[in-house]
Symmetry: C3
Subunit: 394 residues, 3 copies
């Protein structure tokens, strides 16, 4: 029980008011605000373990809009909504009248009359996803201001072209618990590196989210990728500044081995070449299927030049005491398991498999924490009420 | 608070028992019954604004069956169910065994064992949708009478070939609030007119729903459409009779301009040519895709003769003081925005855009009111209990 | 009220602890355990009739995974979850990242962080469905043991290649209520027979489920099918042994007429030829669409040899007093209604149509009973609490 009280007192001490603040990019939120989200997630996780109900809503919708496939984020969003008492309604563009010429502005209002939270995944095209979320946000601002909506639903980014905050926050919570505290992360080295994959068009949001967030918590972030696999320049520049500010570090290296050297944590994960992702958006807007197919071939050929960017035992041996924590947002491309050649050998993955499952297990609580902080001015008081009430969840 | 008490006392005074009565056509319900629905919607809307929980069910399903695309009605139905404590289960004909040869009668029972409400949209074919709903209703009657079902779920028409009551009731609530009261609508002129659209096969249910409902509330309804765009004859004939009975009026005019002249409200909205919709049903039953494609071309060509049926500033200037209220069920075909040439100019639409959003915002409460009245003998008492309990919604 | 108390005292007397035990095959559960499931379903059905809320969960997911089409089981699962307070989240493989190379082991954990129950239908391929469920079970065992999951979700088989327990238990509850008690089933004859259908590839799970379950309750089971339509040999062998053990009987006969002779109950229902189902699995693993199409033609041609295996009035006249109870899991292939020639004549089906609907109506309560027994150590106490609390469901 003292564990819950610890998180509660942290939240009360941080005392941030996040109500009505959309969560699109971690960099838009202060370190204190991010800590409050983490503490709220810890507290909710504790309530769940102790079979204490965390229902704060008697009714209300949590709308999800997935413009890309998803298992874990879809289930995490559902789980989080359900935990707090919200009901998920999926906005399926195929079944809706969006194809009949609705504007984003109109749809945003139409789905929001009794909605508390809107979660959006839109990560397929560089320059599109984040802008789409901002367009939805502006529409909701107008609708609320003009009396169309009784309440202004909060938006949670479930992955955009720029960031993947529910992933990076889950990852941060995982390493906080693994290393004992956020303070213990100071000076720890994490290798965020590209890895080979035989697939096409993986988003840049995970590596961008990781370098943007962890440099702010004093970590020593080494980013590695082959020529042509750059991330969005502004995010990289900002990571360097943030590292300087937090007493951490940020370096750009040219090989997986160099990044792994002495690392406490490794995060080898494929993503698409930046230039190709940019070109892809142009071709999509031109509606040029032939061009897109050609681009896919080009991209796969480019990937194939870097098959040695695979996380194997040899490279793991270069890490601190040969025993860095391996991380992945899942699903990983595991050589010989889910593909012929991939991001990680079966041997390394199997060793850390259950750790990656635990890493994923934080996501429902992170999303619930984002929901709770978006709707309750005083999340500490809301949590305390639940804790004192002690209604058994079943 | 006095606002809530006003609606409550109206409901108690009207004192209609609507339990078990399907809501398929507004014309099957008395004026007092319709007023009670409107008052219930107002009361529920008030509770929502004041953050008072409106949960009346601890469990129970609200089944939705959409045989046509939908955003706003789908979300309105979900929102309404959620507000009252029901859980939506969508009957997706692709995923079900309907394609394996189930009869309507059988499916109706199979989805109803723990179901309170069934909402159906079936508006694509003239002579089909309303009959389908009646077939479902008969199956439920039999299932309940014969002991298959513990309860007889209520049916709510979410748009048929004949009527669109959740739309027309939302529209009526919008203008009631806009003009101050239902009484104030007496003698007000509304122009329900066809408008040009480059799309094919829009249902006739909205104009039919509007002329059928508003003529009963003392309004002066002017219906305008080009040659060949007639509505279902029986509905038009009945609208004339109802107007006479309510002290309103009903006229058939030949141009948008004539209909707009001196109007307090305009509702310019496209629909498909009646004869073509009839032919379409025949071709569909014959399963003649070639014939259907030819018919679509014919229909679009016919539409193109009437591109001047566009709601523009010039025509709006003909209305009372040049400032009639513009209405639309959304999404509208806005010239230069969602299509090249459409129902309304961007200028006019933009001026009334937020008004149309507000108009749409009544729908969740109308549907919730229909649900509540279908299940509770004494909806006034149910609402009063909620109001006195004052459980915060969040 | 005394009816509820009767079921409650039975449950207390049986006193089985089914928590954490997956329900994949009825033969894995003792007769006492099966009786306890039936009594729980009866008690829940009683609460529903009396409008008493049966909500035992404040939050929690019930995940459904349908690898084949379904109406009644989908709605039964939803209804059961909703009755107890769980929220359904469907795992739709098209929308998830399963196609991105997730392993069963990984997906099982990813969907389970806040999940109480997982219902799976996987009946299309011999040798696949049951093994898939066991693979999911093993993954959940590992995830729970290793601290990935706070709770180990229970698995309910919603139809596999081997068994269809929610169907056979509903059927057993139907005949228990029809014949007055389980004891009254002793010595009653049931004809489980193949019937002609113009469709391809119907699973073997229903006949297998019926012979496996009813032979354990003292019934005299006659199984009939044409040459080549054998069931899985192990299940047939076991049915013979179980019949001997329960004082019932199990015979294999060669015609529908012989099976019907003197029967108290008849269950004529099509299934696919065993050998063809085996070959089909091989072709599917080889990904041979041409071979599969050829096999379908072969199967339909084989079926067509046995069009006289139709349940008609003449054959019904052979049953005890000519008035056996006709059963079907629905939808049936009704000659002249859902197909040209099928399993049953329209005349016979119409006579028993409402009985088959009632038979189907037990399924939501059976599934709810399986859920309750899987999660509550003492289901009797849980039911008693609900009964004493008497919260009205609406």
């Amino acid at each position: 029980m003292s564990e819950f009280k610890h998180w509660l007192s942290e939240i009360k001490w941080l005392n941030r008011d996040l109500t009505g603040k959309d969560f699109l990019l971690t960099r838009e939120r202060s370190t204190a605000e991010i800590k409050q989200i983490l503490c709220t997630a810890q507290a909710l996780r504790h309530l769940h373990k102790k079979n204490i109900a965390a229902k704060c809503f008697s009714s209300g919708l949590a709308v999800s809009q997935f413009r890309d496939k998803s298992t874990r984020t879809r289930f995490s969003f559902s789980s989080a909504a359900n935990l707090l008492g919200l009901t998920v309604q999926d906005l399926d563009e195929g079944k809706s009248q969006i194809s009949h010429g609705e504007t984003v502005r109109e749809t945003a209002n139409m789905i929001s009359f009794l909605t508390e939270i809107i979660g959006i995944r839109d990560d397929l095209y560089l320059g599109v996803g984040h802008n789409y979320m901002k367009e939805v946000a502006a529409a909701l601002d107008e609708g609320y201001k003009e009396g169309v909506l009784n309440q202004r639903p909060g938006i949670i980014n479930l992955q955009s072209d720029l960031d993947h905050p529910t992933q990076s926050l889950s990852d941060l919570l995982h390493i906080e618990n693994r290393f004992g505290s956020l303070e213990n992360l100071q000076g720890k080295k994490i290798a965020m590196t590209w890895a080979y994959s035989p697939t096409y068009g993986k988003p840049l949001s995970v590596p961008q989210g990781i370098i943007a967030l962890l440099t702010r918590f004093g970590m020593n972030v080494a980013l590695a990728f082959p020529p042509g696999y750059d991330l969005v320049p502004g995010i990289v520049a900002r990571a360097g500044q943030d590292a300087a500010g937090s007493g951490g570090g940020f370096t750009r290296v040219d090989s997986m081995a160099e990044a792994f050297s002495g690392a406490d944590i490794v995060y080898p994960k494929s993503w698409a070449p930046y230039k190709i992702m940019e070109e892809r958006t142009v071709l999509l807007k031109k509606n040029d299927p032939g061009g897109l197919q050609k681009l896919e071939q080009e991209c796969l050929a480019q990937n194939a030049n870097f098959k040695d960017w695979e996380c194997d035992s040899e490279k793991m041996a270069l890490t601190r005491n040969g025993s860095a924590l391996y991380m992945h947002c899942l699903p990983a491309d595991i050589s010989g398991v889910s593909c012929k050649e991939g991001e990680v050998t079966a041997e390394v993955f199997e060793k850390y498999r259950l750790e990656t499952y635990k890493e994923a297990g934080y996501k429902p609580f992170i999303i619930a924490a984002l929901m709770l902080n978006n709707r309750f001015e005083n999340p500490g008081r809301a949590l305390e009420t639940l804790y004192k009430r002690k209604t058994p969840r079943m």
